[in-house]
């Protein structure tokens, strides 16, 4: 018969391995919301409606604010109401529904814009005036068209010829 204290290392090992399993489970739960292969948190903003955005993802990532900025002056001052670079259309297409099946506002962590802006610590002022969700109860808009001509016009305006 072995002394009771000789069991301590075995019990400790069992405990440690159980803890390790638990941690691994928690890790898997986190990675479901981030990109799988990386240990670094990477934002994964929710997908919009339709099969593609109004421009390529890389282009949108870099220039979305410039696009909105350009369109806002044209709309406010000159009455241009095209949909491709309209903030209202972005909001309608990228709306995320909450548990009550209504689109979430910017207050929610799951709002499309917050997906990246929280991560990058870039404050958004848009929603101090603009609605951060489509009007509740109204049918959300369809994705605006992927108009290459409008994009190249914009690229010309921006002085960017990478298209």
């Amino acid at each position: 018969m072995r002394a009771w204290h000789s069991h301590i290392p075995v019990v400790a090992m069992l405990l440690v391995s159980a803890l390790f399993c638990l941690l691994q489970g928690a890790d898997a739960a986190v990675s479901a919301e981030t990109v799988k292969t990386s240990r670094v948190f990477v934002p994964a903003p929710p997908k919009g409606k339709g099969d593609k955005c109004v421009a390529d993802t890389d282009y949108m990532r870099r220039y979305h604010m410039t696009m909105l900025d350009h369109q806002r002056d044209d709309t406010v001052h000159e009455g241009l109401r095209t949909k491709q670079f309209s903030l209202k259309e972005c909001i309608a297409c990228h709306a995320v529904k909450g548990p009550d099946a209504q689109p979430l506002t910017i207050k929610s962590l799951k709002h499309f814009c917050r997906g990246c802006h929280d991560y990058a610590a870039v404050k958004i002022d848009c929603f101090e005036c603009h609605a951060s969700r489509p009007e509740p109860g109204k049918k959300a808009g369809l994705p605006a068209n992927h108009d290459e001509k409008a994009l190249s016009t914009l690229a010309g305006y921006l002085g960017d010829k990478r298209q």
Binding site: D69, H70, R72, D73, D74, V76, H77, E78, G79, L80, R81, T82, K83, K88, I91, A92, T105, K107, F127, E128, C129, H130, A131, S132, R133, P134, E135
Partner: protein, 258 residues
Amino acid sequence: MTMARASANQKPDKAYPDRRDMLRGLAAGIGLTIAPGVTLYALGGAAEAKAPGDRVTSKVRWGMLIDVNECADGCTECVTACSKENGWADTGNPRTDAQWIRKVTVSDPKTGATQSLPMMCQHCAEPPCVDVCPTGASFKRADGIVLVDKHICIGCRYCMLACPYGARSFIHEPLEDQKPHAPRGKGTVESCTLCVHRVDEDRAPACVEACPAEDGGAMLFGDLNDPASEISKRIAKYATRQIRDDLGTDPGVRYQNL
């Protein structure tokens, strides 16, 4: 306006149209023949429908004619419709609450006769609010609609002091869930936009549509520059008044039977 546009556009002001403008005009003409647009009854049928990609031009000057005899005392349907359309509401602070449109009662002290009429931004041809704005946020669109560009408004409220009609208000409280077509936020000045989002879709402003007065309502909306429009015909036929016309602001809103 000039300051703001220059920074956004980097284009010098032009005194005459260049080739690009002419081509754009041509394209707009073609667009019209391909898609026979919706024409508003108030336009008299002759005006072109504006496509979403078209820029506003000074060929049009939007205006409104209000028949004061038709406007019922105590009726506030236009105010309610405006509030619902643009998402402003009383917050219980009557001294500072937004008032895009309000009903006022005017009386003649000699006879005691009273009249009730709606008062809102008069969309002046020579707007004092635009003259005093230090940032260029207060501006007049080419088609005569006077607006605030809230992106560049610093909330100084000079325009509120300059306006002879008391048409503008300032937002004191943070807001949320605004109407997507009518952005408005704390720290900026706002006023009647003549429902610019509807006008750009060839629809009449919400107040005009909501007026319950007989024979199509007491309010008529249309193009003052088009002699064939209903509003132009009416103001040519009947005597109408611009409020405080002595100031030379040349309002786009006119009153009949006042």
